[in-house]
């Protein structure tokens, strides 16, 4: 076992010893999960106290640096509230909000069965199966937006921006940009100027996942077993998630050329939710999604140059070119 694994094991043992319901249990098969882009994840089983008791768990901790800076306490509260809904979400177990015991802010949750494949709708499966999966992902997004967030008490955890969701999100990501940019980026200033003058009031306020993608969906065969990564979730405009999944940068993850187009997705979503979407309205969120991606890359670059991350992120030509093309197409 590496020094890092040993240190994590000891911290986990000490932390779990102080939690309810862990008497007589032990940690087994502790290992680091594949390189998560914004979290440091460890997998293990909690074994006992009964001879057949074995609970698969995951420890999600803040890394020193990453693409986004979010709150584990908020993610824990959102997931805890969603346990009362019909959404397939992982069960959260424990939280170390400050990192006092686990080294950095962390949450522990149940490891759900299944696998994630971010390219599954353009993978090896037969076309009909891939289209059916893409449709089920669209339906799951509609389910997320249909969550009764007031009834679940999510408004006690997440601020309600009301009809100003677009401005609220733009302000937030501009603030992240100002905090993390290492130099002037007129490309992003031009995007902010464009977005600020065209922001529209939202027609509905829903729970927005904000990083909806097949890479965050656990599948068992063709069944969705869990929707993961709720760290960016917030209340806002449903078009935000729709802009995220239909933006050109992510077409390969959500759409199938000639088989499942953005128009197909929006038509199915509208039929399920009754929300008909105007092109201009969606365009704002598509541009915003590309802008947000660029800001995340800016944050990643700062983390890299400060030695907090080993991933050499940077605002890429592809993202900047896509953003500028979207701004200047009218």
């Amino acid at each position: 076992m590496s020094d890092e694994s040993t240190a994590t094991l000891h911290r986990l043992q000490d932390f779990l010893a102080g939690q309810e319901g862990t008497a007589g249990t032990r940690i087994a098969d502790l290992r680091r999960a594949g390189a998560g882009r914004s979290r440091e994840n460890w997998l293990f089983d909690l074994v006992g106290p009964g001879p057949q008791d074995r609970e698969p768990l995951i420890l999600r901790s803040d890394p020193d640096g990453g693409l986004v800076d979010t709150s584990r306490a908020q993610e824990f509260a959102v997931l805890r509230a969603l346990e009362a809904s019909d959404l397939p979400t992982p069960r959260v177990r424990w939280l170390d909000a400050t990192g006092a015991q686990l080294g950095s802010p962390s949450l522990l949750m149940r490891r759900e069965p299944g696998t994630c494949d971010y390219r599954v709708v353009n993978g090896e499966r037969p076309e009909a199966e891939r289209r059916a999966l893409a449709e089920s992902f669209c339906d799951l997004l509609a389910d997320v937006h249909a969550v009764d967030w007031r009834g679940l008490g999510l408004d006690a955890v997440l601020p309600d921006p009301g009809e100003h969701a677009a401005r609220h999100e733009l302000d937030h990501w501009e603030q992240v940009l100002r905090q993390d940019q290492l130099e002037a980026l007129p490309e992003l200033d031009l995007a902010i100027d464009w977005l600020r003058t065209r922001a529209r009031p939202s027609r509905r306020t829903v729970l927005v996942h904000a990083d909806y993608k097949p890479g965050n969906i656990l599948l068992e065969g063709d069944r969705v077993s869990s929707l993961l990564d709720w760290e960016l979730a917030h209340l806002g405009d449903p078009l935000e998630d729709l802009g995220w999944v239909t933006q050109p940068l992510r077409a390969g993850e959500h759409l199938i050329d000639g088989v499942w187009t953005a128009e197909d997705l929006l038509t199915r979503y509208a039929a399920t939710t009754g929300l008909h979407i105007e092109d201009d309205e969606l365009r704002w969120w598509v541009v915003f999604s590309t802008f947000k991606t660029a800001v995340m890359q800016v944050s990643g670059l700062r983390a890299f140059t400060e030695g907090r991350s080993d991933e050499p992120y940077r605002p890429t030509r592809r993202v900047l070119a896509t953003l500028l093309a979207a701004l200047t197409e009218d």
């Binding site: 680091r32 390189a35 130099e183 002037a184 980026l185 007129p186 490309e187 200033d189 031009l190 902010i192 100027d193 003058t197 080993d310 991933e311 050499p312 030509r317 900047l320 070119a321 500028l324 093309a325 701004l327 200047t328």
Partner: protein, 135 residues
């Protein structure tokens, strides 16, 4: 003359190839190595093109700012370039300064036909820059 910058970078990448075939390298170590290779590859592809790119971009930015900055604040029109033309660091620093001025112009442009024309010109410049930036 030898080893040239290219020869040194090619050599560094070759040595990393040797390391990458080592059996005992952990998955984490492999990932770090891949990132080092990506960074060195970028430097190898771009280092020689940076000075001419920044020189050309500085000239275009200076002309663009001369046309658009007066709509916001005449003080944002750049003064004459004092950077030594063959000093790559000075030319790159000048580029960052001119881009900072452009950001200020973008942020302050009026909502008028002239302002919109300036936005369009700035958009065209930035698209061209992104397409040709060797870094």
């Amino acid at each position: 003359m030898h080893p040239t910058v290219d020869e040194q970078l090619t050599g560094a990448l070759r040595l990393l190839d040797v390391l990458q075939t080592e059996d005992e390298l952990s998955p984490g170590g492999q990932e770090v190595l891949t990132n080092v290779r990506r960074l060195l590859g970028k430097v190898q592809r771009s280092w020689a093109a940076q000075l001419p790119f920044h020189t050309a971009d500085n000239a275009e930015l200076t002309a663009l700012l001369a046309r658009t900055a007066p709509l916001v604040d005449p003080a944002l029109v750049p003064a004459d370039d004092g950077a030594p033309p063959l000093d790559a660091v000075a030319v790159a620093t000048r580029n960052a300064q001119l881009r900072a001025l452009l950001s200020q112009v973008v942020t302050g442009l009026p909502r008028t036909p002239e302002g919109d024309a300036a936005r369009a010109a700035i958009g065209d410049h930035l698209r061209h820059r992104v397409d040709t930036d060797p870094t």
